[in-house]
Subunit: 649 residues, 2 copies
C-alpha cells in the first residue's frame, strides 16, 4: 500500500479513491451543488447563521481562549483560566472543519478564509514542541497527558483536530494545519504503539481521522496506527478496563452486538469500516490481536450493521435508547418518550452508512443515509439555525425544546460540519456510473467512463417524488446514471426524452446505462403514498401503534395543529386515507399529512393513576389529524408531540 | 415541647407517641407477631439467611474493616486501605439497625447480641474525639469533612448511624450507641446551624433520623435541627447548588411536584412528615425560611403525596422512572421495561406512607404500605434470601437477575432493616381503637381504652381474603378493632361470634367498636376477584395494556410458565375469566392466576425492524396464561416477564 494522494486535494470528508475495498468513491464537494429544497435551505441557514453562531459561542464559552492561552496568545494561566469541559477543544475543531467545508464551497468568502487562517494560527501556537495539542492538559496538568485515554478524551479531541486539518487541506490545498495534525499524530505514536504503551481510545473518533490522514497525505503509518488502535479494543489484558461502555468488552472483530455508548460505538464502527475499505483483500497479520487479515473485522462491521439496522435503530434513524450511559439498550429496546437519539449519533449513523455504501455499493446504506438525514439528524437543527437538540425523543409532553448551546456542546458543530459537507455525500462514482445518493435540486459533475458527466437535477424531493435529470455534458462512451430505488418505493417508470427507458436494477438503485448526450432529459416520479409503519413485535414501546411515513420522511403529530383535541387522546385506523398537502408557507416549504383519527374523551382532572379496566363504552369521536415531518417539530408553540400513534382498538 | 421519652424504650422505627400531629401511634415490635403467611416467611428468611449474609458481605467488602481501622482496632491506613464507596459505613449501620430490630424480637439470641455489641464497640472506637464518625474522611481526608455535604453523603451516613443507635436503644435499653449518635449529632451542629455554616443534606436521611433521636431521647434540640436542615433545602442563596436532583430547587414547603432523585426525595418527605407530626399546631417562625408555623410544610407533604400517588407511582408501588439520575420523571412517565423502581425507593415509600398514616389515620396510606410491601418491595428479595434486586422493572427480556451484592450496596441492608422491623408497622392505636395495617397470621397486644386488647389473627392474606380475629384479652371499656377497608375491596360482612356485626366506616377502615370479651371471634372475608387495572391514559408505556391484580397483589406473566408461547406475543381480553389457584408447592405457598389469552404468531427470525402496517389477517390462537405475583418473579428459569399485558385489539 503506497498510494500517494496528497497532490490532489479532494474536498470530501472521506476519500477512498484507489482503496482496495472501495466499490464507489464520492464526488467531491465542489463538483456538486444542492440548490433547492429542504437540503439547500438547511445549508443556506448553516452558512448564514449557524456557522457564525457556533463560532461566536466557541468564543463566548472560552473554548477559543483556552487555545489562545495554551499558545501564549492570550495572557492568563491555561489551567486556572481554562473554561468549559476538558474536551472543549473538540468543539472548536469541529467548527473549524465545518468552516473549511464551507470555504470549499465558497472560496470567495474572504472573511471566512481569514477567520479560518486565524484559527489555524491559534492551533499552530497552541501546539507544544513535542507535537502535543490539547489546551486542557497544560502546565501542572501536563503530567496527566495520556494517562487516562479511556475517560479524558485526548484522542477524541485529537481526532477532530485531524479531521479539521484534512478538511483544511482539502478545502484550501494548504498544508499548515495538516502539518500540525501530523506532528500531533506522530507524537501520539511515540507514546502508544507496539512495544510502547497499550491503550484504546475511550471515545473513538481518532481511528477514522487517522484513516483520512493517510488518505490525505499518503503516509501509510497513519493507516497502520488506525488499525492498531481499533485492535486495542477488547485487548487482553484490557488496556482501558474492558467495559462495554467503551466498546472494550471484546475485540471489535469478535463483536456482533451493537452496544455501549451510541456515539462512541458508531464512530468506532465508522473507523473500522474505513480500515476494512483500505485493507480489504490483504492478508497480513495484525500486530496485537493475532487475527489474520482484515476479513474478521469486515465480518464484524457487516454483522454490527445488521444488528443495528434490524434491532437498534429508531424509525427516525436515531440511535441510542438510553439516557443513562447514552447507550444502546437491549435488542428492540426502543422506547419513544425517553429515546436518547443524540444528534451526534445521527451524524455518526449517516457517516457510517456512507462508508458502508462506498465499500459495498448497496442501496440499504443509501436508504439509511436518506432516512436519518431527513428525520433524526435534521431534527437536531432548529429552523432559526440558532438552536439545537442534543436529544431527539419520538414523543414528548412539550417540555423538550432546542437550546442555543450545551455544557457539552458536541452536537451543534457536529451538525454544522455534516451540513457544510453535504454535497460531498450526494453522489458517488463507480462502475462507469454516477450514483446519486441524496436527491435534491442541484448539479453534479463527475468523471465516468473516461469523460465528464454533468447533470442538472430538478426535484422537490423529499416533498414530492418527481425527478428530472438533464444531461449537461456526457462522455463519449456509454455510462450509467443510477438513481435510488429505495426500499419504500415501488417501481418507477423512468423515461428518457419522454420515452420509457430500459433500466437495470442494482441493489437499491436503478441504473440507466447508455451513451448520454447533452440536452437529454431523464424523468420519472417516485410514488409517495402515505405508508403507516409498524415496528417489530418485540419493540414494546410501539406495540399497537403506527408511525406515518411518506417517502423517506417520518411524520409526527404536534399539539399546535390540533386545537380541539389533546393529541395524546387520539388513535387512528391502520387503513385511514391520508391527504398530502404541500405547505409552501411553512418554513419555505414542507408537506403535511391530513387524515381522520379518533379521539377518546380527555381524562378527568382527578382521574386516578390506576383504575379497574373495563371494555370501552363511550364511542370515540372523529377528529381531523395533521402530521408534520418529524424533523420540523418543536419549532412552534410548545406542546405534546408523538411519532407513534395508537391504532384504534 | 418537652416530652421526655427516653425512659421507655419502644421498639418501633418511629415513635410519635404524644406528638401533637399524630392521630395514631404504632404498636411496637415486641407487642405484635407475624407467624404465618408470606410476611412470616420473608421474616424467617431474613433472620436465618439474609442478616447473616449481609453481615458477611459487609465484612468481605471491607466496610467493617474500614471502621475498625478508623478506630485503631485494625492495623493499616484508614485512607490508603479504605475499601468500597465513600458511603460504605451506611451499609454497616443499616445492617446494625436491622440486627437490633431482630434482637428486639429475639432477645434470647446471644450470638446476635454479641455481634451487635461487637459492632457497637467498633463504632465507639471509630468515633473521633470531637464526635465525628465516618471511616472515609480520615487522616489526610479529614480536611474534607463537611466541605461537600451535597455529594459526599456524610449526613446520609450519619443519619443511618443515628437510626441504628435509636434501634439499639429501643431494642436493648442500652445507651452505648445512642451516646455515640448524640456526640456525632452535636458535633454536626457545631459546624452547621443558624449563624454557622448553611447547608442542606444532599442525600436526605439525617432529618428523619434526627426526629427519631428527639423522640428516643427527649432532647428537643434534635427536632429543631431536623427542621433547620429541612428548611435549608431551596434556601436562597443555595447552599448546595439549587438542583432538583438534591431537592434544592425550591424551599420544600413550596414544592408541589415530586421530583429529583427518588430515594432522596422520599427520604426528605419522610423527614418532613416527621417534623410536621411533631410540630403540628405550632405557630413559631422557623429560623431560615421565614415561613410562619408548620402549616406550609404540612401542605407541601400532603400535596407531594397527591402528586406521587396520582402521577408518579408504579402499580407495584415502585418509585423512580429513570435510570439516569435515579429520578422521578415527568408526570405519568412510567415506562415499564426501563422502570428504575429502586428497592430503597420502595422502602422509602413504605416508610413515608406509614408516617402519613400515623399523622392522619387515612386508609389511603395504609393501602399504599400494603401494595408497595407485597409487590415492589418484596420483589427486591430473592426467595433464597441471598440475592437482591437494586432495580425492579415491570417488564424484562430475561437478563435482569438478582445479585448477591452491589458496588453501591444500599438496597440489601435497607430491605433487611424493613423486614426485621415489620411487626412494628403492622398495627397502630388511636381513638381507643386498634388499627390493623398489615393483615397476616399473628398476634397483637396493645393498650386501648385504658386496658389491654390482645388479638390473635388467622388469615392467609394476601393469598386469601378470609380473616378471623380472636379476642384473647380485652379492656373493660368499649374499644374498636379496625380492619382495613382497602380501596380495591368491596364491602365485607363482618361477624362477631357468627352474627353479623354493626360496623363504622372510617376512612379506609372498618371499625367494630364494642365491649370485647376474651374468646370472641370476629370473622369476615375480603372478596378477592381478579381485577385487571388500566393506567391513566397519559401513561404512554401502558396504553392499551392491563395489569392483573387480586387483593393487594400485582401479577406478572413469566416465560417459564408458558412453554408453548413467547409471553411477549400474547394479549388478553379485558373481561377474561381468571381462575385462582392456591399453590402451596411454590415457595411454601403462593397463588397463581390462570386464564385465557391470545397469541399472535412469533415474529420470523428475519422480521424487519419496521414494516408497512396492515390490518391483522391471521387470527390469533387461544392460549392458557399463568400469572405469578410480581414479587416472586426471577426466582426460577430466566426468561421474559411482563406486568402490563396488551389487550387484544
Amino acid at each position: 500500500m503506497s498510494r500517494a494522494r496528497a497532490e490532489t486535494p479532494f474536498a470530501a470528508p472521506a476519500d477512498p479513491r484507489g482503496a482496495p475495498g472501495a466499490l464507489r468513491t464520492p464526488v467531491p464537494l465542489r463538483a456538486a451543488t444542492l440548490t433547492g429544497g429542504p437540503l439547500a435551505r438547511v445549508r443556506e441557514r448553516n452558512r448564514e447563521v449557524t456557522l457564525e453562531i457556533i463560532h461566536q459561542r466557541c468564543e463566548e464559552c472560552g473554548a477559543v481562549d483556552n487555545l489562545r492561552r495554551a499558545g501564549g496568545l492570550l495572557d492568563g494561566d491555561p489551567v486556572a483560566d481554562f473554561q468549559g469541559q476538558y474536551y472543549a477543544d473538540s468543539d472548536v475543531f469541529k467548527w473549524l472543519e465545518a468552516a473549511c467545508w464551507q470555504l470549499a464551497e465558497s472560496p470567495e468568502d474572504e472573511k471566512l478564509r481569514a477567520r479560518i487562517d486565524s484559527m489555524v494560527s491559534i492551533l499552530e501556537a497552541a501546539q507544544q514542541d513535542d507535537g502535543y495539542l490539547n489546551s486542557y492538559f497544560m502546565n501542572e496538568r501536563a503530567a496527566r497527558r495520556w494517562t487516562n485515554i479511556r475517560d479524558e478524551h485526548e484522542m477524541y479531541c485529537g481526532g477532530h483536530l485531524v479531521q479539521a486539518a484534512v478538511a483544511h487541506l482539502r478545502a484550501t490545498g494548504e498544508r499548515r494545519l495538516v502539518e500540525v495534525a501530523i506532528r500531533f499524530v506522530d507524537h501520539v505514536w511515540t507514546v502508544f504503539g507496539p512495544g510502547r504503551r497499550p491503550g484504546a481510545d475511550g471515545h473513538p473518533e481518532y481511528e477514522t481521522a487517522l484513516v483520512e490522514l493517510w488518505r490525505a497525505t499518503g503516509e501509510e503509518r497513519f493507516l497502520v496506527q488506525a488499525r492498531w488502535f481499533i485492535d486495542q479494543h477488547g485487548a487482553s489484558p484490557a488496556a482501558i478496563g474492558g467495559r462495554e461502555y467503551h466498546l472494550d468488552h471484546a475485540p471489535l472483530h469478535k463483536q456482533r452486538e451493537v452496544t455501549g455508548h451510541a456515539v462512541r460505538a458508531l464512530y468506532l464502527y465508522t473507523g473500522a469500516t474505513d480500515v476494512v475499505t483500505e485493507t480489504s483483500g490483504t492478508t497480513e497479520a495484525t500486530g496485537t490481536t493475532g487475527t489474520t487479515g482484515i476479513a474478521p473485522l469486515a465480518e464484524a462491521v457487516d454483522a454490527l450493521w445488521r444488528d443495528f439496522a434490524d434491532r437498534k435503530r429508531y424509525v427516525t434513524g436515531g440511535a441510542g435508547s438510553r439516557h443513562d450511559g447514552e447507550a444502546f439498550g437491549e435488542r428492540w429496546e426502543l422506547g419513544d418518550e425517553r429515546a436518547y437519539a443524540e444528534s451526534c449519533a445521527s451524524v455518526a449513523h449517516f457517516q457510517w452508512a456512507w462508508r458502508m455504501f462506498l465499500r459495498t455499493g448497496a442501496g440499504e446504506y443509501r436508504d439509511a443515509m436518506d432516512e436519518v438525514l431527513h428525520n433524526g439528524l435534521l431534527s437536531g437543527l432548529g429552523q432559526d439555525g440558532e438552536e439545537f437538540f442534543y436529544v431527539n425523543p419520538l414523543a414528548d409532553n412539550g417540555r423538550h425544546r432546542r437550546s442555543p448551546w450545551f455544557g457539552t456542546a458536541c452536537c451543534p458543530p457536529n451538525l454544522a460540519r455534516l451540513v457544510a459537507s453535504l454535497p460531498a455525500y450526494a453522489h458517488a462514482v463507480g462502475d462507469d456510473t454516477l450514483w446519486t445518493l441524496l436527491l435534491a435540486e442541484g448539479t453534479v459533475t463527475a468523471e465516468v467512463a473516461g469523460g465528464t458527466l454533468e447533470l442538472r437535477i430538478a426535484t422537490a424531493y423529499p416533498l414530492d417524488g418527481a425527478v428530472a435529470v438533464e444531461v449537461v455534458r456526457a462522455p463519449e462512451e456509454a455510462c450509467g446514471i443510477a438513481l435510488p430505488a429505495p426500499a419504500w418505493a415501488g417501481p418507477v417508470a423512468w423515461s428518457v426524452n419522454g420515452v420509457e427507458a430500459a433500466v437495470e436494477a442494482a441493489d437499491g438503485f436503478t441504473v440507466l446505462r447508455r451513451r448520454w448526450r447533452a440536452g437529454e432529459r431523464l424523468t420519472g416520479a417516485y410514488a409517495m403514498p402515505v405508508r403507516p409503519l409498524a415496528a417489530h413485535p418485540r419493540v414494546r414501546a410501539t406495540h399497537g401503534r403506527i408511525a406515518l411515513t411518506r417517502g423517506p420522511l417520518v411524520f409526527c403529530l404536534e399539539q399546535m395543529d390540533h386545537p380541539e383535541v389533546d393529541i395524546r387522546d387520539v388513535s387512528v385506523d391502520v387503513d385511514a386515507e391520508w391527504t398530502v398537502r404541500q405547505r409552501p408557507e411553512l418554513w419555505d416549504g414542507t408537506v403535511t399529512l391530513h387524515g381522520p383519527g379518533w379521539a377518546r374523551p380527555a381524562p378527568a382532572p382527578d382521574a386516578p393513576l390506576y383504575r379497574q379496566a373495563r371494555a370501552e363504552t363511550t364511542a370515540p369521536r372523529r377528529v381531523e389529524l395533521t402530521a408534520l415531518p418529524y424533523h420540523l417539530w418543536a419549532n412552534r408553540t410548545p406542546g405534546p408531540m408523538q411519532v407513534w400513534i395508537p391504532l384504534a382498538g
